[in-house]
């Protein structure tokens, strides 16, 4: 019973999501929670910081970089090695 590619993940139950013959979802109540984005944002941030560190070690070796300059405009990163 493998999951087929293209199947839509069920995030929240909304009116009309379920077939009435099996389950009739209460259409009056919402299941969208009051959600905080904090941990998701932190996860993204840690991944960015971590990948920059990894890049510094790959480019400069174990001694690492002295400084990293990020040029967002030209999508360019400059690593000055120690």
């Amino acid at each position: 019973m493998a999951v087929r590619p293209g199947q839509v993940p069920l995030k929240t139950i909304r009116r009309g999501d379920m077939d009435g013959s099996l389950i009739m979802v209460d259409p009056m109540q919402r299941y969208e929670t009051k959600e905080a984005a904090v941990i998701v944002a932190a996860l993204a941030w840690v991944i960015i910081v971590g990948s920059t560190g990894i890049a510094a070690i790959i480019i400069c070796g174990w001694k690492g970089a002295k400084s990293i300059e990020l040029d967002w405009k030209n999508a360019k990163a400059t690593f000055k090695c120690r």
């Binding site: 019973m1 099996l22 959600e35 904090v38 990894i54």
Partner: protein
């Protein structure tokens, strides 16, 4: 190993299933005490849900379902529904956990989007701490790893070792304050009967599941949650007065920004605020048009 639903993933014989707290099966209906929902169940759906009232191993559950000759697709759809409302609790054995993780990675490698299962926690400070710490599980390993690699970005070893605990504490306390504001507003604006809000977590996404509130309370909650989170994170700026913890201001500012991201339209706080702004703009425009 069996696939019991889209997000619920794989399950092995040793895994124990049950209905989540707050869900009550009565007659042909499944009542949700968190938001007062009443879902009507068909006979087939009841056959799947009744055994879950008491914790039951998948091995026994399978035997019960086989006796009822239920189609596999119907069983999976009921489990998908339960996962959608955060109504399914699965206590996985170690082998089940490994198999499920392998399945999820494998599915993701085939570029198929799959969510983590939804889990409910009690709507109090204990439930909040449990939900947030569990949500931060995936973050901890990455945090230690990135701090370790931070050495590559010319950061001293002492700082590298101190960054993860300070970041963890700042994120935990500020997120807890953020969520507790939502919970406080819900408990204070409860109008109809006794509904018990719960924390709902899906991977790193944490929210409060509750009965609908009036518009003003909803808007205040969406505004105040992130503000209190920012205020709590800002307290960590004081730590930067200590020599070894100079980086605390950077953590505090980052976490404060993470809280403000909740106001983006992609997240529920932002959705509520942007919806209110849209309605206000539309109402003003309509009024001006009439005056004109």
């Amino acid at each position: 190993m069996y696939s019991i639903g889209y997000n619920a993933g794989l399950i092995s014989d040793g895994d124990v299933l049950s209905l989540a707290q707050g869900l009550i099966l009565k007659g042909g209906n499944l009542y949700d005490s968190a938001n007062g929902a009443r879902h009507r169940l068909s006979r087939s759906a009841r056959y799947v849900i009744v055994p879950l009232i008491q914790p039951i191993s998948w091995q026994d559950m399978r035997k019960v379902l086989q006796q009822k000759f239920l189609p596999t697709e119907s069983i999976r759809r009921v489990f998908n529904f339960l996962d959608g409302i955060g109504g399914l609790v699965i206590k996985r054995s170690w082998t089940g956990l490994v198999a499920d993780q392998y399945y999820r990675i494998n599915v993701k490698l085939h570029l198929v989007s799959i969510n983590k299962p939804a889990i409910r926690y009690s709507g109090d400070i204990r439930g909040g701490i449990r939900a947030i710490t569990a949500g931060m599980n995936s973050l901890v390993g990455l945090m230690i790893l990135s701090a370790f690699f931070g050495y590559g970005a010319n950061i001293s070893l002492a700082t590298v070792l101190l960054i993860p605990p300070v970041f963890y504490l700042c994120l935990l306390l500020s997120t807890l304050c953020h969520e507790m504001v939502h919970l406080y507003m819900v408990n204070n604006s409860r109008k109809w009967g006794l509904y018990i809000p719960v924390f709902l977590r899906r991977g790193a996404r944490i929210g409060v599941l509750h009965r609908g509130m009036d518009e003003v309370a909803e808007l205040s909650s969406a505004f105040l949650g992130p503000i209190v989170g920012v205020a709590m994170a800002s307290c960590f700026i004081c730590l930067s007065l200590i020599d070894q913890l100079w980086f605390s201001w950077l953590i505090a500012v980052s976490v404060a920004i993470f809280h403000l991201i909740s106001w983006l339209p992609n997240f529920s706080d932002g959705q509520i605020i942007w919806q209110a702004i849209k309605e206000r703009v539309y109402a003003t425009a309509s009024k001006n048009k009439i005056n004109y």
